[in-house]
């Protein structure tokens, strides 16, 4: 009953535009006051919120975001775009294919969709519009391909999921590789189908010199995913240290390219500070809510109910995917993840679902919400960049959601698509 009241209260506060973190905190604090009294509630709130962010692993998230910002500002993103242009610009779909391939490369260097949409996306939309592509098509493929950011490692949502669920972040990163490549491939096929009907001029085939120059130009940037994932896998550094090392490497490259001044770097750090404040205030408040939910016993009830009603892991994952897609309509993915994963985790464990598999399904399902109204962060960001209405973009992006959802379903039905690579490399034991 208390949980149901709390949920209604939370929805009301969110609808009234109370900031997400404060809404979570107020609801949780109210529940603590009811249970423990006003005298004890502040201490419980303070302790839970501070403990909620007391995690070495979580430090990786702001540094992966900073690495993405430095790459955008420091000319690394432009070089990656040039390489993608030379590699796939000439195939049917032209700059649409460049858009997807660029995002696949870029996703290997940063861990967030917004970084891809704002940095690479701005460049891609401008180039596509100048080449005569429909603005809504340019914006739609930019939005859809930006979802590769949190799937192909490194990934900020995977770091946070790993911290919440206690799953290996190295294994999660490896598990994101094949789904990310599948998503990229599915989006490229969709672009090629669109190219047969719409206006998608092909770019001229690059000369061998152009190809070599673009490859050499992008090569230093392309080493980032190798040393991030390879370094973690080889045990050279932790995910947090990998994020810091990626930042340092990006700073060195951007300085070498003479495209990053101190003033620009400090501006980027301020931007990351703002994002850290907004994101981790939610993480801290969710920890307080997690304390309330855990103590209420609702997680055990949910687990027992799931265990008695659902016996198939695949069916449970399908139900969870539907739940995630619905919640993703109204909540930012990381906030939704922090709220739902602790509640669903006991049931998931009860049915023997691998936590890494569950993590990939969770991250991908919730990130789809970035493209759907009314709370689609990428939708509004890209609409603003492309100077089109968000509702127009919401419709234009639908054909690209279909292949992403198909890949998601494939991962649900065939866990090895996610788990195959970490198992192959010995990062996960076979079950």
């Amino acid at each position: 009953m208390t949980v149901a009241l709390g949920l209604v209260g939370l929805l009301v506060l969110l609808a009234l535009r109370v900031p997400v973190a404060a809404a979570l905190g107020v609801v949780a604090l109210a529940a603590v006051v009811v249970e423990d009294g006003i005298a004890n509630a502040p201490v419980i709130a303070a302790q839970s919120m501070v403990n909620g962010v007391n995690s070495f692993v979580l430090i990786a998230a702001p540094f992966f975001m900073l690495a993405g910002e430095i790459m955008n500002q420091g000319g690394l993103t432009r070089r990656i775009y040039r390489l993608a242009h030379a590699l796939v610009g000439w195939i049917p779909g032209g700059l649409g294919q460049v858009n997807v391939a660029g995002s696949m490369f870029f996703a290997g260097m940063t861990g967030s969709a917004i970084s891809d949409a704002v940095g690479l996306g701005t460049m891609e939309i401008k180039a596509m519009n100048e080449a005569g592509y429909e603005p809504k098509f340019s914006a739609a493929i930019t939005s859809a391909s930006s979802l590769l950011g949190p799937i192909i490692p490194p990934s900020v949502p995977m770091v946070i999921y790993g911290a919440v669920a206690g799953a290996s972040i190295g294994s999660l990163f490896l598990a994101g590789v094949v789904p990310g490549i599948l998503m990229g491939g599915a989006l490229m096929v969709t672009v090629a189908i669109y190219a047969r009907r719409g206006h998608c001029p092909r770019e001229p085939k690059p000369t061998s010199t152009e190809l070599r120059e673009s490859l050499l130009g992008a090569m230093p940037s392309l080493l980032i995913p190798l040393f991030v994932v390879g370094g973690i896998y080889a045990g050279l550094f932790t995910p947090t240290e990998a994020a810091v090392a990626a930042c340092a490497y990006a700073i060195v490259l951007a300085t070498f390219y003479r495209e990053l001044s101190w003033a620009e770097l400090s501006r980027l750090v301020v931007r990351i500070v703002m994002a850290t404040g907004a994101l981790f205030y939610i993480v801290a408040a969710t920890a307080l809510l997690g304390f309330v939910v855990t103590r209420s016993g609702v997680m055990i009830e949910v687990a027992l109910w799931l265990g008695s009603e659902i016996t198939s892991p695949t069916l449970l994952l399908l139900i969870i995917v539907v739940l995630y897609l619905l919640v993703g309509l109204f909540m930012e993915p990381i906030a939704a993840m922090l709220l739902l994963v602790p509640i669903l985790l006991p049931g998931v464990k009860l049915l023997g679902i691998d936590l890494v598999h569950f993590g990939i399904v969770t991250v991908l399902s919730l990130c789809i919400g970035l493209l759907t109204p009314p709370v689609g962060l990428i939708l509004y960001t890209v609409a603003r960049i492309a100077n089109i209405r968000a509702d127009v973009l919401a419709v234009a992006v639908l054909p690209f959601l279909l292949p992403i959802v198909l890949v998601l379903l494939a991962i649900v039905f065939v866990p090895d698509l996610a788990l195959g690579l970490p198992r192959l490399l010995g990062s996960l034991s076979a079950s």
Binding site: A21, A22, F280
Partner: protein, 160 residues
């Protein structure tokens, strides 16, 4: 976005720089057997401080995430007076939460004053809670200032 940096922004930038330096040094020095035993615990504490000071910075600049769909639909249908009350109400809700949190942080600082961190010799847990309390207090001041400005604002002001 405001261009001048306030205290929480400056502290947060400093913490990012310190975290970056310590963790990078750890990566570089470890192969030579010169890693710091205290680095991980120090980084975790610095990150807690970063989270709460950056929270205060985001309060300063009004950059916390919220769901705007209902407000965008409802606001144009309301009178300017109702919209002002709504905005003030939002600030009061968050202020109340942060004031209670600050009280709890103060109590925790007192309770943990006698406890020391494992690898950071001489570091009292109370200092950590005091740091977080300072950040929360900055948030309270920022929100209170916004609330006063809201109350003083001319009633015919347009919704933003």
């Amino acid at each position: 976005m405001r261009s001048r940096l306030g205290l929480p922004e400056v502290v947060s930038i400093g913490l990012v720089a310190v975290l970056f330096a310590v963790l990078l040094a750890q990566v570089v020095l470890r192969p030579f057997g010169l890693g710091f035993v205290w680095a991980e615990e120090f980084a975790a504490f610095a990150f807690i401080a970063l989270v709460f000071f950056s929270m205060a910075a985001a309060h300063h600049r009004g950059e916390h995430m919220s769901v705007e769909a209902f407000q965008e639909w409802a606001a144009p249908r309301l009178s300017p007076r109702t919209r002002r009350v709504w905005r003030a109400g939002l600030l009061v809700v968050e202020l109340l939460f942060l004031v209670l949190l600050s009280i709890g942080l103060g109590q925790m600082a007192v309770q943990t004053w006698g406890s020391f961190a494992g690898s950071l010799s001489g570091f009292r847990y109370g200092w950590l809670y005091l740091g977080v309390l300072a950040a929360a207090a900055i948030s309270v001041v920022a929100l209170a200032t916004q609330l006063v400005a809201e109350i003083r604002r001319a009633p015919e002001g347009s919704y933003s």
